[in-house]
Symmetry: C2
Subunit: 202 residues, 2 copies
């Protein structure tokens, strides 16, 4: 808290906060250790006492992002168990990506560094969360396979929206599109079933 003492007090947290702010303000390019140090009111090399290098700091920010994402999803629905509720969580996922584009990109910009246990733990939590949802929404189905599919679909939607490949004009439009995609995942087989029945007969 105190500014004028030699020791900062909680430089670790201050760096994390500054890094997060810089990321949201100027994107990934603006996130430099020196800028973080400046914002924390500290010399350029001080952050190295708390983070081994720039990647370590980015990893910490990413881990924070994973936890926030998890919270955001849980807030959309605490325990989804129907396709509609699952779609609501999917919407929250994409919404999070659009609200924090630079953070979201930082979270997935590089292969998740296995040496950052904080990071693997956070991603594992998300993965497990999705799996749990799928399991309760579709009991009796191979939850591992389907949860991968669902995650991939939603994750892909988030990125396509982020890349401006889809209509992102209003949150409502985005939400509708995500819901449509999720429901399409369940309706697509109808067309297949039609063509299949012509072969399989009734």
């Amino acid at each position: 808290m105190p500014q004028d003492t030699y020791h900062h007090g909680d430089l670790r947290a201050a760096c994390l906060r500054a890094a997060r702010e810089l990321l949201e303000e100027d994107g990934s390019a603006g996130l430099s250790l020196r800028a973080v140090a400046r914002r924390a009111g500290v010399s350029a090399t001080a952050p190295y006492r708390h983070y081994a290098d720039r990647d370590a700091l980015v990893s910490a920010v990413a881990a924070e992002g994973y936890r926030e994402l998890a919270g955001h999803l849980a807030q959309a629905h605490p325990a989804p168990s129907t396709p509609d509720e699952l779609a609501a969580v999917a919407v929250a996922y994409v919404q999070f990506a659009l609200e924090h584009p630079a953070l979201f990109r930082a979270m997935f910009a590089e292969p998740c560094d296995p040496t950052s246990e904080e990071r693997v733990a956070a991603t594992a939590a998300i993965s497990e969360y999705v799996r749990g949802i799928v399991q309760s929404t579709f009991p009796g189905v191979d939850a591992d396979a389907l949860s991968t599919t669902v995650w991939a679909l939603v994750h892909g939607l988030a990125f396509l929206h982020l890349d401006g490949k889809l209509d992102t004009s209003t949150p409502e439009v985005v939400a509708a599109q995500v819901r449509a995609a999720v429901h399409a995942l369940f309706n697509a087989s109808r067309a297949m079933a039609q063509t299949a029945t012509t072969q399989t007969a009734v």
Copy 2:
């Protein structure tokens, strides 16, 4: 072609090639304009005669990547029109991402710069290609919506694999997983139909 003349001959293409090589060798961090210039055997500032800045060069590499990806997909199957053939194209998509991880990331690292018409054209081509496949695979379905879903699913799978969130041990394992996910997209509704029939009755 000639090396010892003052003028390079085709520095534009040489930069592109060097950039591509550096990307594959050292990842995105290794792609610096100065390194490109060194590799092309030219002064550090020469590339600026052909690319406005680093981003412009990266955009050019990305555009090349899009075209290669399109070719790779077409090679997997020229005109897919069944779910299995569509799955084969999906496998090719993910395979491309895993074979050129840095390039693939560069292609989607930033929102597609609308000022790079070369880039938007290349991505539009991919988008249109997917839409065409879906349309011929599932005639009578809203091709726009479903193609978005399919692309998102495959794109998400590619990224999850790239991020090491899925088993990437062998190409066969990956291919099987992608096929499973694509087919899951058609089978998921079966479970839904079951639970639905308990309400709708027969």
